[in-house]
Structures are given as structure tokens and as C-alpha cells.
């Protein structure tokens, strides 16, 4: 269900905020009225702002005993009818994985913001990284899909958190905002729009909550207490929620649908941005904070006459394979700078039929323009 032109709850106009604060405002604007979380650097400011804002708005905020219970409470609240979210960083994101699989399999809308830090393990808690990209996609067992977005600015911490809620409600799927420490702690001026578009999960009295013949593959979702006598389970289930734990057909059908409902809508979900790619023979593919540095490098090299451009990934999952494949047909080589050891570069290699060079860096620092420049000028 879509409604447009809703008034936001935060005064429109210009605001000077950190990325984490902006993400909280994006969530509030989207209609988020339930937050459960556990403190962890560098994401805690999201939780603190949600505590404040939800008390103003008479929503529900709770600091749970760990990240496992945080995501579980979010899922429980979602079934009670809430737009609900949590935010965390690497170690907490790891703890949430089993429940993220539960949300995917029970088709529970929820939003998870991961402000990535330098991993693995406790790593460097205050330093930046983007090592959780593959975990976002494959972190829980079994075959499922999620949606993951990648903000590169404070503005996008707001916009993409809002969008994550809309997509999550529309497709009944966990949606993740894969931020990083640099964007989370960045301060910039952002513009809060006066009117926004909001999606709400569809409802249908007596409808099957776990099966549909509709084209989009997304069934209606009632809430607890509405008299629907819901039967929700993380075991394989039929359209009305009855467990079907040894029926091969039921399992195949359900797994297929929860995957296909996302893959079928890739065109709606995936967003990318092109910079100077029309005549380029060399391209950068980047996302998150690293895309800012990449754009700077591209602009600088352009001044010197180089035919280089940037493809920025705003959506990471489902992967923008069409845009990447298309770019691979047009350019000779693609460089992928990222704050991990080549997680997205690996995906790019799957779809781009040209040279793909990974510029992965895992030292807890943002990638400097000089690092990318040096790699590019070697050719």
C-alpha cells in the first residue's frame, strides 16, 4: 500500500546532522515507532536519538540484553503491527544472523542498520570498514534474499533508511542499511523534504499470510490482536502457517517464492548512479563512503583528460548485476576500491566481462584519493 505526500514529523528544510542522527530521523519519517537495540560503537547515536524521538512521539523504545533479543523484539513488534528497527555494528550484526533468517522466512518487515567498523571480531571498534557486505547477503543459513542499501552521505542516511522501511514493508523482507563508521559520524547539512512517499504492508481480512498467487509474490500481513488467529513459524509452512516439515513440495515452493519475490523486483529495488561513464574506458565501482573518494579521483583525472568514470552502487543486495554487466561491456577495466578484501569486487567479476581490479583496503582507515590515483595511473 502506497501513500504519497505525507507530512514529515521533523521540520522540513536544512539541518546540520550526523549520519547516525539522520538515519534515526529517516526511520521516524518512515513511520518507525518501535526500536530495540544494544549499545555498540559506532552505531550507538542512532539508538540514543531513537530513545529521545520515540519518547516524544509515544512510540516504544527498549534497550535489550543483547543484539539477539534486540532483533527478536523487533520481529515480535513487527507482527504486532509496528514498523520496527534496530541498529548495530559488526559483532552485533553477527549475533543477529539467525533471527534475520527467521525474518526472511516468516516474511517479517524490519530494518537493520549496520554501521560497519573494522572487523573481523572486535577488531578496531572506532575505526571504519565495510567488511559486512557478504554477511548481509549470506549471514544466515539457507537460501533467502534480503535488501541492502549503501548510503554515501548524511542525506542518504536519511533517505535510504526511509527507503529501507518502504521496501521492507512492500516486499515483507528484512531491509538493511549498510552504513559505515565514516558516513555514520560524518556531519553535513541535509534537506528534510516537506512531503515523502510511504509504503505500508498490505492487509486483507482472512487472506493467507504466507502464500499468494499475485504477480509480486508478496502475501498480505495482518497483525496480532486483529482477530486473524495468526500462525507464525520459522519452520517450513503452508500459506496459512501450518508446519510442513517433511513435504518437499511445500519447502521448495516457499523457498522459491521468498527468493523470487525479491529477484523479480530487482528493477524496482536496485538503484545506481553513473558519473562520467558515457565515454569512459576505465571505470570505478564504489559504494558508501569510498564512493565519495572515488568521485573526487574521477573528477581530478577527468581534468587531466583521462576517460574515467564512476558507477556508484546505492543498492548492494539484490546485486546491481545488470548495471555492472552493461558497464563491463563498455569499458576496458573496472577498479573496485572498498574497505574490505574485495567482497564487492568478487561480485563485479561475476558479471563484468572486462578486467576487474580489486582495490581492497583493511587498515581501519578510509581509502585516500592518493591510493586510488596511484592504482589508476599505473596503467
Amino acid at each position: 500500500m502506497r501513500s504519497t505526500g505525507l507530512k514529515t514529523t521533523f521540520p522540513k528544510g536544512l539541518h546540520y546532522l550526523s549520519g547516525n542522527e539522520a538515519a534515526a530521523e529517516g526511520a521516524i519519517a518512515a513511520g518507525c515507532r518501535f526500536y530495540a537495540g544494544y549499545p555498540i560503537t559506532p552505531s550507538s547515536e542512532i539508538m540514543e536519538r531513537m530513545a529521545l524521538r520515540l519518547s516524544e512521539l509515544r512510540g516504544v523504545f527498549i534497550q535489550m540484553e543483547d543484539e539477539i533479543s534486540s532483533i527478536c523484539a523487533v520481529i515480535g513488534a513487527s507482527w504486532a503491527g509496528a514498523k520496527a528497527m534496530t541498529a548495530t555494528s559488526g559483532p552485533g550484526f553477527s549475533l543477529m544472523q539467525e533471527s534475520i533468517g527467521y525474518a526472511a522466512f516468516t516474511e517479517t518487515p524490519c530494518v537493520i542498520i549496520d554501521v560497519q567498523r573494522a572487523g573481523p571480531c572486535t577488531g578496531q571498534a572506532t575505526k571504519v570498514g565495510s567488511g559486512d557486505i557478504m554477511q548481509a547477503r549470506w549471514g544466515s543459513h539457507g537460501d533467502y534474499q534480503v535488501i541492502a542499501l549503501s548510503p554515501w552521505s548524511v542525506q542518504e542516511m536519511y533517505d535510504l533508511t526511509l527507503r529501507a522501511f518502504n521496501l521492507s514493508e512492500r516486499y515483507r523482507v528484512p531491509a538493511m542499511v549498510m552504513a559505515d563508521e565514516a558516513v555514520g559520524h560524518l556531519r553535513e547539512t541535509i534537506r528534510i523534504p516537506e512531503k515523502i512517499e510511504i509504503w505500508d504492508r498490505k492487509k486483507e481480512k482472512g487472506g493467507a499470510p504466507f502464500g499468494t498467487d499475485e504477480e509480486d509474490g508478496v502475501p498480505p500481513m495482518p497483525a496480532f490482536g486483529e482477530g486473524e488467529r495468526l500462525l507464525v513459524t520459522g519452520s517450513t509452512h503452508d500459506a496459512f502457517g501450518f508446519r510442513r516439515t517433511d513435504d518437499p513440495e511445500a519447502h521448495a515452493k516457499l523457498v522459491e517464492r521468498i527468493n523470487q519475490k525479491i529477484l523479480k523486483s530487482t528493477r524496482v529495488i536496485v538503484e545506481t548512479e553513473d558519473y562520467f561513464l558515457e565515454d569512459s574506458d576505465t571505470a570505478l565501482i564504489a559504494y558508501g563512503f569510498t564512493a565519495r573518494t572515488s568521485l573526487y579521483v574521477v573528477k581530478r583525472l577527468r581534468k587531466e583528460g583521462a576517460r574515467v568514470g564512476l558507477l556508484r552502487l546505492k543498492t548492494l543486495w539484490p546485486f546491481p548485476e545488470e548495471a555492472v554487466a552493461e558497464l563491463g561491456r563498455r569499458v576496458k577495466r573496472i577498479f573496485v576500491p572498498e574497505m574490505n578484501q574485495g567482497q564487492v569486487a568478487g561480485e563485479v567479476k561475476k558479471y563484468a566481462r572486462c578486467d576487474v581490479i580489486s582495490l581492497g583496503q583493511t587498515n581501519g582507515e578510509v581509502i585516500q584519493p592518493g591510493t586510488i590515483l596511484e592504482a589508476l595511473t599505473k596503467i
Binding site: A36, C72, A73, E98, R229
Partner: protein, 256 residues
């Protein structure tokens, strides 16, 4: 009983002689006698045989969650919609081993949950491994010479953590059990009822109680009411399980 059983449900999945079926019956009788509206009830469970008591059988909202996490899921639902009457029904392993942290924190917060812990002293579903509730010396598939460790006293645990209604009964005390569940339904706050429920398949046959009726007899013999404890010698108490209502207090502060 029909209005309490979900249409389409014909049988339960429990083994012959399993106590979980008796418990299921007791819960529904308490709900019926309390005239609860099933449409306003949410049953949350974890993973295990006991977690199947409400799901799919009960004809209200049911949320069958992950192993150990029932109370965490329930917390989100109850806080967002306080009008729901939330009953959490799960096993000893689920609530007190893997879910132990959520148990003590939910009790500490004194959230209005009616928690029913079906304690069969073992992990039934996965084939009879030792649990945090298995009596010292009991044989399980993972303690072949008998468990070397002490079990939790679940009632004392949740009481110390802040629960405001705490009781223990066995399925062999059905009248007292039903009355206790009725009290929990009326109680505003964290209610916890530990229900001893025999598992002949996984516990009994490894511990010299081969047949279901022997397990029932054993429970009848061992369970005594707390009022009856006075005057018994240490020897007489050794094998006994103390049952009854251990705590019922009203809160003086506001909570959900």
C-alpha cells in the same frame, strides 16, 4: 474445547505418555474457566516438543520462534501492543539454557507475561541430551555416567530475577495447576509456572522408569506441597520435589 483448538488440527505430535498433552489440556481449561478471549491472546513459544503445545494447536495468535528466544520476541509484541494477553509456553532447555539470559531479563523487567515452562528435565526433541534442569546423577545421551552437575531451581532463579508470580506444579496435580494458571492469567506482571511434565521417551527409559505410568507414579510419589514439608526429615526430603505457589506479589510501580 472446540473453540480453543485451531480448525484443521486433529492430533498432537507428542509421544504416548508425554506430559505435554496433559499440560496443554490444563492451559486450555484455565483459559476457558477464566473466560479469556482467544482473539486477544498471543501464544509465543521457542523450539522443542514443549514449544509445539500452542503451535499450531491453539486457536489464537501464535508465534513459534527460534530456540531460546520466545521471551525476546514476546517482549517486542507486548510492548508494542499492551492489550495482548501474552502467554509464553516453552521447554526447560529452551527457556533456561539457551534462553536463560532472556528469562532473567524479562523477569527483571516484570513485563506482563504468563510464562509456562514445561520442565521434562531433558532436551526431548533432540534425543535426550542433558539440560540445565537435569537432576544430578541422571543419565542422558550426553551424560552416560549420570550428570555431574546440579540443576537450576527455576523458581528460585526467576524469583531472584524479579518475577512477581512464581509457582511449580506437576501435570499429576491438574486441579492445582489449572488454578495456578488462572491466577497467572489474572496477575499483572511477570508470572512463571514451572510444570513438571514427564518425558518417557527420552528421560524415563534411561532412568529406570521404562513405562509412562511409572513416570506418572514417580511424580505422584515425589511431588509434595510446600505446606507438607514441615516436619519431614532430610532423608524423607531427599527425593522430593517441592510444589506450590512460591510468590505472589502485587507491584507498587508501573510497568507494562
Amino acid at each position: 474445547m472446540e473453540k480453543y483448538i485451531r480448525p484443521g488440527v486433529k492430533t498432537t505430535p507428542f509421544c504416548p505418555g508425554c506430559g505435554h498433552g496433559i499440560l496443554m489440556n490444563a492451559i486450555l481449561r484455565a483459559i476457558d474457566e477464566s473466560k479469556m478471549d482467544m482473539k486477544k491472546m498471543l501464544f509465543v513459544s521457542g523450539i522443542g516438543c514443549a514449544a509445539w503445545i500452542p503451535s499450531p494447536h491453539f486457536n489464537g495468535d501464535t508465534l513459534h520462534t527460534l530456540h531460546g528466544r520466545a521471551l525476546a520476541f514476546a517482549t517486542g509484541a507486548k510492548l508494542y501492543n499492551p492489550d495482548l494477553c501474552v502467554m509464553v509456553i516453552s521447554g526447560d532447555g529452551d527457556l533456561s539454557s539457551i534462553g536463560g539470559n532472556h528469562l532473567i531479563h524479562a523477569a527483571r523487567r516484570d513485563i506482563d507475561f504468563k510464562v509456562i515452562c514445561a520442565n521434562n528435565l531433558i532436551y526431548g526433541m533432540t534425543g535426550g541430551q542433558v539440560a540445565s534442569t537435569t537432576p544430578k546423577g541422571s543419565k542422558t545421551t550426553t551424560t552416560v555416567e549420570g550428570s555431574p552437575y546440579r540443576p537450576f531451581d527455576l523458581c528460585k532463579l526467576v524469583e531472584a530475577a524479579g518475577a512477581t508470580y512464581v509457582a511449580r506444579y506437576a501435570v499429576t496435580q491438574p486441579v492445582a495447576l489449572i488454578n495456578s494458571i488462572k491466577k497467572a492469567l489474572l496477575h499483572k506482571g511477570f508470572s512463571f509456572i514451572e510444570v513438571l511434565s514427564p518425558c518417557p521417551t527420552q528421560f524415563g527409559r534411561r532412568n529406570l522408569l521404562d513405562r509412562p505410568e511409572e513416570m506418572i507414579q514417580d511424580l505422584i510419589r515425589r511431588c509434595i506441597l510446600q505446606e507438607e514439608v514441615r516436619g519431614l526429615s532430610e532423608e524423607e526430603m531427599a527425593e522430593r520435589i517441592i510444589t506450590g505457589e512460591f510468590l505472589t506479589c502485587q507491584r507498587s510501580y508501573r510497568c507494562v
